[in-house]
């Protein structure tokens, strides 16, 4: 009876299709990128081993650092924009409001759209000729504030940050709302009886109790911010004058515009390493903060 569930032939056959596809198109390419990162290669001629010089060149390229700081900008805007906004809306929707489900449906909607559509739609909205933002400003007699939003290096990144928040805040609202719904109602009721105000309840009870979900959200913001590509690529291609250049766009340009495959692989490895370092350190920091918080209460 048990033998059929230990039969090696069946197990191998059952796992093989998934394993083969996964190995060939995910795991093996990663191993290869470690290899190519140390080579100079244009995709046609024979790769030449160059040691660490690709990495040295990346780290001394001003455009790379510009793109790095732009990724950090998106991470910071995500962490301090989407999470507080998501939390506020989640707290409101958690109060048995009429129509809460409809609001949740609408807030989450940008999440399901293709990022290319979001990029093109906002490019049109911000367009200086037909865009509705400048039209709105003119209608409010604020025409002086109208700008070429994505074409001006001063405004391009803040605008990108806004659109990232616009598209993704619904995800954080949903994650935090799910966490809020798992807090027993009695805790809030007894706090209310003790005379705790709304703000005290939020900072002293709600936030500590959903700290796990907040930590997960921060990690998600970092991972998402570090890999941002589609949205900015469709809106600005990294311009004007590298103002919105991101690490993934830098990698794309180096690989597919100037055919430096070895260099591009090295950039992928750097992105990979930076993302992991940030995710691990944020986990460590926030884990520490939460255990200190618990220690203080005890």
């Amino acid at each position: 009876m048990d033998s059929i569930f230990k039969n090696r032939k069946y197990i191998a056959l059952g796992l093989a299709p998934a394993m083969i596809i996964y190995l060939v198109f995910v795991l093996y390419p990663i191993v290869r990128s470690f290899f190519y990162g140390f080579y100079d290669w244009n995709g046609l001629s024979k790769p030449v081993y160059v040691g660490l010089s690709n990495f040295a060149a990346i780290l001394s390229d001003k455009v790379f650092w510009k793109s790095f700081w732009n990724n950090i900008y998106i991470v910071v805007v995500s962490v301090f924009g989407q999470i507080p906004l998501g939390l506020i809306l989640a707290v409101i929707l958690n109060r048995k409001m009429r129509g809460a489900m409809a609001f949740r449906f609408f807030f989450f909607m940008p999440m399901i759209l293709s990022t290319v559509v979001v990029g093109l739609l906002w490019s049109t909205i911000l367009n200086s000729q037909v865009g509705i933002l400048n039209a709105l400003l003119k209608a409010l007699a604020l025409g002086g504030l109208a700008q070429n939003w994505l074409g001006d290096p001063r405004f391009a990144m803040p605008v990108v940050g806004f659109i990232v928040v616009w598209q993704f805040f619904g995800l954080y609202m949903v994650i935090l709302l799910a966490a809020l719904q798992s807090i027993p109602k009695e805790i809030h009721e007894s706090a209310a009886l003790d005379g705790a105000g709304e703000l005290t309840k939020l900072t002293r009870i709600t936030v500590p109790m959903i700290w796990g979900a907040i930590t997960a959200s921060v990690v998600l913001c970092i991972a998402g911010g570090m890999r941002t590509f589609d949205l900015v690529f469709t809106m600005t291609q990294g311009g004007p004058a590298h103002a919105t250049e991101l690490m993934a766009i830098y990698m794309y340009n180096k690989t597919f515009d100037v055919y430096k495959y070895g260099y591009g692989s090295a950039v992928s490895l750097v992105i990979f390493a930076i993302s992991f370092a940030f995710i691990l350190s944020s986990r460590a920091l926030m884990g520490k903060a939460s255990s200190e918080g618990k220690g203080g209460e005890a």
Partner: protein, 283 residues
């Protein structure tokens, strides 16, 4: 005497009104751009240029016809459909069979194999864009729809296996044992018992994979160069150069591309919201 009570009640109503105001403001900011896209898609370019806010004076569905044929949205739509459906099918067949093995069979490397797939959820796609491109070139798959089907399957497997494995593990062993005693073969057991019983979990991962594949841009951008093989997100990207001033057509094209996603979302909102939130947190 009831002054303070009335004051408290009034404050409660005002508070509630304030909360609704916040919600409505955010709702307008979230939804108005989409509504604008929808009604601009049936205006003429002249109307959009004259007054971008105004509602259409008459409906111009010919924007859709033009987008579908002139801007080749019809071709892109068909490609997206083929790639998405084939990738979902392949992901589910491979993923469910692997999940069944991992959930119900006993072998030494089980934990290792499962964690190998879980690690895949942590790998940002951008990090393997370049090596994957080289891989596809070596396999002579560049500029084929097959490259997208295979890559989407590979990227869809971790979440699919993760969800299905935990679902299948929760199915009672007694049913499997009874079926084996009745003389059911393993393929039969898988097709007639495991798959039907995992229906809800299979549906969830199918929907999530549909959304991911339908929206995907980065891989399509680097793999596909022939017009006739482009998927919708990549085809829309063409508008930036060629049709950058035909706003009405652009809006129609974007509406066509978004419609399947919005219909899916309207039909399965709870499943999609919960699934995407869970999947995101697992990452």
């Amino acid at each position: 005497m009831n002054g303070p009570n009335e004051g408290a009640a009034a404050r409660k109503i005002a508070g509630k009104a304030l909360l609704y105001l916040i919600l409505v403001v955010f709702c307008v900011i979230t939804i108005y751009p989409l509504v604008w896209m929808l009604y601009s898609s049936v205006k003429t370019n002249g109307e959009i240029m004259m007054n971008s806010f105004a509602l259409p004076s008459a409906l111009h569905p010919e924007n859709y016809a033009k987008a579908w044929t002139t801007a080749k949205i019809g071709t892109y739509f068909a490609n997206s459909l083929v790639v998405t459906v084939l990738a979902i099918g392949l992901t589910l067949v491979c993923g469910a069979s692997a999940a069944f093995m991992l959930a119900k069979f006993k072998f030494r490397s089980r934990d290792f194999v499962l964690s190998l797939f879980i690690v895949g959820m942590l790998i940002p796609m951008q990090a393997i864009l370049v090596p994957l491109f080289i891989q596809m070139k070596d396999l002579r798959l560049i500029d084929t729809l097959a490259s997208l089907v295979l890559a989407y399957t590979a990227f869809g497997l971790p979440l699919t296996i993760f969800v299905l494995e935990s679902f299948i593990r929760s199915l009672p062993d007694s049913i499997l044992e009874a079926a084996v005693l009745d003389g059911a073969s393993l393929p039969r057991l898988f097709m007639c018992i495991i798959l039907p019983m995992s229906g809800p979990a299979v549906a969830t991962v199918a929907i999530l994979n549909f959304l991911t594949n339908w929206k995907e841009f980065s891989l399509a951008l680097i793999f596909i160069s022939t017009e006739a093989k482009k998927t919708l997100p990549l085809g829309l990207y063409n508008f930036i150069g060629a049709y950058s001033t035909d706003y009405a057509q652009l809006m129609a094209a974007m509406t066509i591309a978004s419609l399947p996603l919005i219909v899916m979302y309207a039909l399965f909102q709870d499943r999609i919201i919960d699934g995407m939130a869970d999947g995101a947190v697992k990452n």
